[in-house]
């Protein structure tokens, strides 16, 4: 079971109070994009063994969205951060680099 921190209300609780909503930091391809781009945006998701960035919602709490960085293999949660961002903040990346040296090379 994951223990997750909500940066919006400051509560740290177990995962049943939250709900995962899939991969984070997707770039939207809407009208005017090619079929391939649109398909990729709609359906193609990473399925990494290791570090993963996800969108979560504090379903049974404050109801707000945020991001979580976690490891899909060990279920280690690296941290959570604001939903109002396009990319993970540097302190989260530093922490992941600390815990999983070289993770970015193996992720590609």
């Amino acid at each position: 079971m994951l223990t997750i921190h909500c940066p919006n209300c400051g509560i740290t609780a177990e995962e049943t109070e939250f709900h995962a909503h899939g991969e984070a930091h997707l770039k939207r391809f809407g009208p005017g994009s090619s079929d391939g781009e649109f398909e990729g945006y709609l359906f193609m998701r990473k399925n990494p063994k290791g570090v993963h960035f996800e969108r979560w919602r504090h379903q049974n709490g404050c109801g707000k969205w945020f991001h979580v960085a976690r490891c899909t293999m060990t279920l280690e949660v690296f941290g959570s951060y604001s939903a109002q961002t396009y990319a993970p903040p540097q302190d989260i990346l530093d922490h992941i680099e600390n815990r999983r040296p070289g993770w970015q090379e193996s992720a590609t």
Partner: protein, 189 residues
């Protein structure tokens, strides 16, 4: 005006290790807006009769009070008969603010759980640290009660007040009764 009817018509149960009571009707107003804005705070204080609480806390005084629900939402409580007047006043005062005030009195059910085992009964149903040092009177927690969303606070030690959706009032009442079955004391707190 017609008589207000609560979801369970004030059902009570004292057969278990705590006393469960449906209380209410209670006037409840959901107010969404910028909680750092002075005019919003002032209007909320006027409607709730108490100060706007800190994050994850609530201030209550009898039937009135304000509870912190999320970074842009508070729940204002007041006597049921006064809710229309208070919401009208709130809307007038916040006419120029980007805000939303809705009367949710009849969309909610309110329970009280009382007794020396109250913490235990609540801890069986929600994923919240209810240790005496971790959850104290004055705090407010939105969470789940078994399978449904609920929020609760402690007006005083050994008493919990629970707010849930009216549509799940029967479920909450029943699940509280199960958690409070005679002989089901855990003795953890």
């Amino acid at each position: 005006m017609s008589e207000p009817v609560t979801a369970l018509r004030g059902a009570t149960d004292a057969a278990g290790i705590v006393q469960i009571r449906e209380i209410g009707p209670r006037g409840m107003i959901t107010l969404r807006g910028d909680l750092s804005d002075k005019a919003t705070i002032k209007a909320a204080v006027a409607a709730g009769g108490v100060n706007v609480p800190e994050v994850r806390h609530c201030n209550t005084e009898g039937e009135s009070g304000i509870a912190w629900m999320s970074p842009d939402e508070v729940l204002i409580m007041c006597p049921y008969a006064e809710v229309h007047a208070r919401i009208a006043d709130l809307r007038t005062k916040l006419a120029k603010q980007h805000s939303l005030a809705v009367n949710v009195s009849d969309a909610r059910a309110l329970f009280s759980v009382t007794g020396p085992h109250a913490r235990e009964v609540m801890a069986k149903l929600s994923p919240v640290d209810l240790h005496v040092d971790a959850f104290t009177p004055g705090m407010f927690r939105r969470t789940r009660l078994a399978q449904v969303p609920a929020a609760f606070w402690m007006p005083q030690e050994q008493t919990f007040n629970i707010v849930c959706f009216r549509s799940v009032a029967v479920y909450v009442y029943d699940v509280l009764k199960v958690a409070a079955q005679p002989g089901s004391e855990v003795g953890h707190f």
